[in-house]
Amino acid sequence: MKSIAPLLALSLCLAVATAADAADPNLARNLARNLAATCAGCHGTDGRSAGGMASLAGVPQRALMEKLRAFRAGEQPATIMHQIAKGYSDEQLSLITAYFAGLDARQP
């Protein structure tokens, strides 16, 4: 841990610099991360299912968005996803699906 102290100080400076920037990709990523975490109760932490539900991690964004659109439109048979998908805005769903698509399907 000691050996990285200088790096830590450097990254502190970076953090200070970027936190001031409203368009900080890290902040946007946190928003996506927080929204995606609302799905974890069923689809697993970071969309890696512990079984019995689909995994979402590593699935291409377009495939996820198409499924969610179909759930909302009532075109895809569902027990519950049609009701859940309607609770999020388009923008929120695209943040969520981009987040899951960007993850490794396997455990990191």
Binding site: K2, I4, A5, P6, L7, L8, A9, L10, S11, L12, C13, L14, A15, V16, A19, N26, L27, N30, L31, R33, N34, L35, A37, T38, A40, G41, C42, H43, G44, T45, S49, A50, G51, G52, M53, T79, I80, Q83, I84, A85, K86, G87, Y88, Q92
Partner: protein, 425 residues
């Protein structure tokens, strides 16, 4: 290369997670500072999730201590299947070990005895006093003392089984010992109480068991409320399926109980049962009061929904059933898991000197068994309303099952496996 990138990302998170606002550090100074320390009191759906997510989202840069009195987590959701004989307690129990080995949470099996929010310390029965930068309180519920005359100290004769564990096993044993033709009475307190559909699910699951083994028995659902409080149409239908076995009695306020004869004194009636299950009126877990938090109506903690901090007590983030709920927000394990993530994100923001997320979202699902296999759900999504300063259910979203079905029976068990893993794996 990817390794280096993730290392740098980790360090950025490290910086973001430091307790002192980063601007206080001269950027030239390399003085490493002790990590921020978050103490979590209570290892249920809220507390365990908060502990894991604080470690995960800070990439290990925030120290987390979890204080929980039980050595294993026992799930209230699915515990009615134990009463019906469809599951054992071991099937709904998970150890805390992975929080330590996978996530580096320091887990202390102990009672939190006192909290000093001015000094920012938590006292424990056996592990001394711990200091914190921020506190997460996920105290669940405790029963209001003396709310039901005759009940105090008699939970062995009249189990509540509203905290899963030994009480669940006790009630199961009493049901097993009940003779054919016996009466099982469940008493439901006025809302709000933990797990709105839980009592009705309990009646159904036990009924499905008795229908097979003790056909002449009777289940009385004595509800203080004027009607079924969750999934009303679906539970009404389920009760009709148990005609002759389940009787639902609304407006049944409980005046007193007699433990020796297992009698419930209702406002207009007196019910002698072979097995009497009284779910007592409840409030925020006692540690909330001991922490000096003011309780609305003497019962629930009011929070700032952006950070989950208790009103009037910054630095103390409260989760789960102990809260004064926002509109249409149930006291459920799923909801506590969601509160925990809002709190974890906000704590990391606040430690880094950043503003918390201005638009948090939480969602809920409660699956209920109507027998050993068939399940119904209720779901809702709650978006933060800036004008009302609280989460509001999204209109047109959420809803209930069309009918009880086996597919959702499988989903309910998959939900349990996934949410237990989300907290504890």
């Amino acid at each position: 290369m990817t390794h280096r990138r993730s290392l740098l990302k980790g360090l950025a998170a490290a910086a973001a997670a430091t307790a002192v606002p980063a601007s206080l550090f001269g950027c030239a100074t390399a003085t490493p500072r002790a990590k921020a320390h978050v103490v979590v009191v209570g290892g249920g759906f809220g507390g365990a999730t908060a502990a894991k997510y604080l470690r995960m989202w800070s990439r290990g840069e925030v120290e987390v201590t979890l204080i929980e009195r039980n050595t294993r987590f026992v799930s209230c959701p699915v515990s009615n299947l134990v009463l019906g004989g469809y599951r054992e307690l071991a099937d709904i129990s998970v150890g805390y070990g992975n929080l330590g080995t996978h996530w580096g949470v320091r887990v202390i099996t102990d009672d939190a005895t006192a909290i000093d929010t001015a000094k920012r310390t938590v006292s424990t029965a056996h592990h001394g006093t711990l200091s914190y930068d921020r506190l997460v309180l996920s105290p669940g519920v405790d029963f209001i003392p003396n709310a039901v005359p005759g009940l105090e100290g008699n939970h062995d004769q009249i189990p509540h089984a509203w905290k899963a564990g030994p009480q669940t096993v006790l009630l199961r044993k009493q049901l097993e010992a009940m003779p054919d033709g016996g009466v099982f009475a469940i008493h439901i307190p006025k809302v709000p109480y933990r797990c709105p559909p839980g009592p009705y699910e309990r009646a159904c699951v036990v009924a499905s068991h008795l229908r097979r083994s003790k056909r002449r028995s009777k289940i009385l659902v004595l509800d203080s409320n004027p009607e079924i409080q969750s999934k009303k149409a679906l539970f009404t239908k389920a009760f009709e399926g148990y005609k002759g076995l389940v009787e639902y009695v609304p407006n049944s306020e409980l005046r007193a109980v007699d433990a020796a004869s297992r009698t419930a004194e209702l406002e207009f009636d007196r019910v002698r049962a072979d097995v009497l299950n009284v779910i007592p009126p409840m409030r925020a877990g006692n540690i909330a009061t001991r922490a000096g938090l003011s309780l609305v109506n003497g019962r629930w903690v009011e929070v700032d929904w952006l950070t989950m901090e208790a009103k009037g007590t910054p630095g103390v983030h409260v989760l789960g059933d102990a809260l004064l709920a926002a509109p249409a927000m149930p006291k459920s394990g799923h909801m506590a898991n969601q509160h925990a993530k809002v709190a974890a994100a906000a704590i990391l923001n606040l430690l880094a000197g950043e503003a918390p997320n201005p638009a948090p979202v939480v969602m809920n699902t409660c699956y209920s068994f109507v027998d050993g296999q068939n399940v119904i759900h209720v779901a809702s999504v709650h978006q933060f309303d800036a004008a009302k300063r609280q989460p509001m259910p999204v209109e047109g979203a959420g809803g209930v099952s069309a009918a009880a079905n086996e597919v959702e029976g499988r989903h309910a068990l998959a939900w349990a496996a996934n949410i237990w893993a989300d907290m504890l794996a």
